[in-house]
Amino acid sequence: MSLLKPFSKLPALNTANILLVESEEQFQQSLADALVKETGVTVNVRLAKSLPLPMENEESRPRIDLVVFIINLASELSLKSAEASLKYLDPGYFLGKVCFLATNARNASVPTERLDAVRKLAALLHCPLLFAEDQTPDGVANATERLLTILKVAAGLVPMATALYLSSLTQCTVPPDIDQPSFD
């Protein structure tokens, strides 16, 4: 078992590296295509279905600045896979270098319990939880923009801001009544 560590490698100049983890391998491709179009900084994208990452790529893999777990709320498997992958991350990542991206949240068939589970998971790990629309180009562009903002901070490319500082502002919080039965 190999943990992915945030500081085991040296950073490159004006470069940010992002790892997209998605068990269905659908949204990550379009997201990656949009992410590398960024011209301000060099963005390298690594795609994975789940963690741990294969040992063979250890050498070629750059320092990962941000890990994004893409969870399709319509699928239980997607959530389970993300949960299983979490334990292959070094605790150092949870200081602002992990975020969750939920898709399909507006789908009527999604059970509310699953959405609650994702929110609790993000809150527990002090990570931000983003929502994205994966079917439309607009949705992809939006998600890309938000990820880039976090990524630049996490890669240390924004003066006066650190990942830890940003995450304390953006981390997901669970409303206290989440476990209460709703009355409507």
């Binding site: 790892l19 068990s23 269905e24 391998e25 659908q26 491709q29 990656a32 295509d33 590398v36 060099t42 963005v43 390298n44 994208v45 690594r46 795609l47 994975a48 279905k49 789940s50 990452l53 294969p54 790529n57 070629s60 893999r61 498997l77």
Partner: protein, 346 residues
């Protein structure tokens, strides 16, 4: 022209779209050029029908000609009902040398021996398939041309494809087929679908199967999406493996379009602590799982390739293309889907 053939012609014209009717009439090749021009395909259907009826009356054409027309249409558009596959068993020594004329004569002779009133029409289609149209009657009634059975058989192969056959007619057809193709038995092949071509390709193995090779084939080439050098897949090899396995199980390229697969589980409840359930000893526990899709095999392949279904593909699913069937009965004493099968209803 009698009333019956008039009705059949009316129904036929009503069912065929105007453009298809034009090509069908062209292929039929009985109308003179002048007659063909007199039919205006932009007119409403009933006018076309009137014109055609007049032409038929004029030439004194009968039921035989109407059925010819119907057959041409069905051969070109076979996907209009459920097709069922049957398999001939235990060929006699001379089964390999049965040829068309002999088969035609034998089939007609055997069938008319079994049923007094029956009308059989046999036509050889260009792709080496023999098409048979049977209008059934019984000892008191004339053949019913409104509900014909269509049978497709490729000589020298063990498979027969049938559509709109009732359970009463099945033994009659079976016997005629067995005798005229020189076999000893026929059984249900447990494969059905709306597309004749799909069922045929699956059984005749005319779709692109994938086998393991030493050489990097076209598969991996196709799978590689050309992308940015700054995007890298960490588990690309795993994905390729999954894709290879999925293709080995289901095939490459366009797959035969099956619409459904049905699994019937029959077992007994076994839990000694639960008295009420075990007391129903004689009643089996039944469960039916049905997969359906516009193209089932392609969906299953995609599931396996994307990792939604586990690879290697379970024999339950890979049996569909492997055994060429989409109806399985799974019982207690059989592990695989093939071991125990009951006769499914048609």
């Amino acid at each position: 022209m009698d009333d019956l053939s008039r009705r059949l012609l009316q129904r036929l014209v009503r069912r065929i779209p105007a453009q298809a009717l034009k090509t069908t009439l062209g292929k039929w090749d009985r109308l003179t050029a002048a007659q063909r021009q007199s039919v205006d395909f932009t007119q409403p259907k009933w006018t076309i029908t009137e014109t055609l009826l007049a032409i038929f009356e004029e030439n004194e054409w009968t039921m035989k000609h109407v059925t010819e027309l119907e057959m041409i249409h069905i051969i070109d558009n076979p996907n209009q009902g459920m097709w069922y596959a049957f398999q001939l068993m235990d060929p006699e020594d001379d089964a390999k040398s049965v040829e068309l004329t002999q088969f035609k004569e034998q089939f007609k002779a055997h069938l008319s021996e079994l049923v007094r009133h029956v009308s059989v029409k046999i036509k050889k289609h260009t792709d080496e398939a023999v098409w048979i149209r049977i209008a059934w009657g019984d000892s008191f009634s004339r053949p019913n041309h409104m509900k014909p059975t269509y049978v497709v058989h490729h000589l020298q192969t063990p498979y027969v494809f049938v559509t709109s056959l009732t359970s009463k007619q099945k033994p009659l057809l079976s016997q005629a087929l067995i005798l005229s193709t020189r076999h000893q038995g026929i059984k249900d092949a447990n494969l059905s679908g709306r597309k004749l071509a799909a069922i045929r390709d699956l059984l005749m193995k005319q779709y692109q199967q994938v086998f393991p090779t030493k050489y990097p084939g076209t598969l991996t080439e196709k799978n590689q999406t050309v992308s940015n050098p700054r995007i890298e897949r960490e588990q690309a090899e795993l994905g390729e493996n999954r894709f290879q396995m999925a293709c080995e199980a289901f095939g490459d390229g366009m797959l035969p379009q099956l619409q459904s697969a049905i699994y019937k589980l029959e077992t007994k409840f076994r839990d000694h602590t639960n008295k009420t359930m075990t007391e129903r000893e004689e009643l089996p526990f039944k469960c039916v799982v049905k997969f359906s899709s516009t193209n089932l095999l392609e969906s299953l392949r995609e599931c396996a390739a994307s990792g939604i279904a586990s690879t290697p593909v379970t024999p339950l699913l890979s049996s569909i293309p492997l055994k060429g069937r989409n109806y399985f009965v799974i019982t207690d004493n059989g592990l695989g889907p093939s071991s125990q099968t009951n006769q499914p209803q048609n």
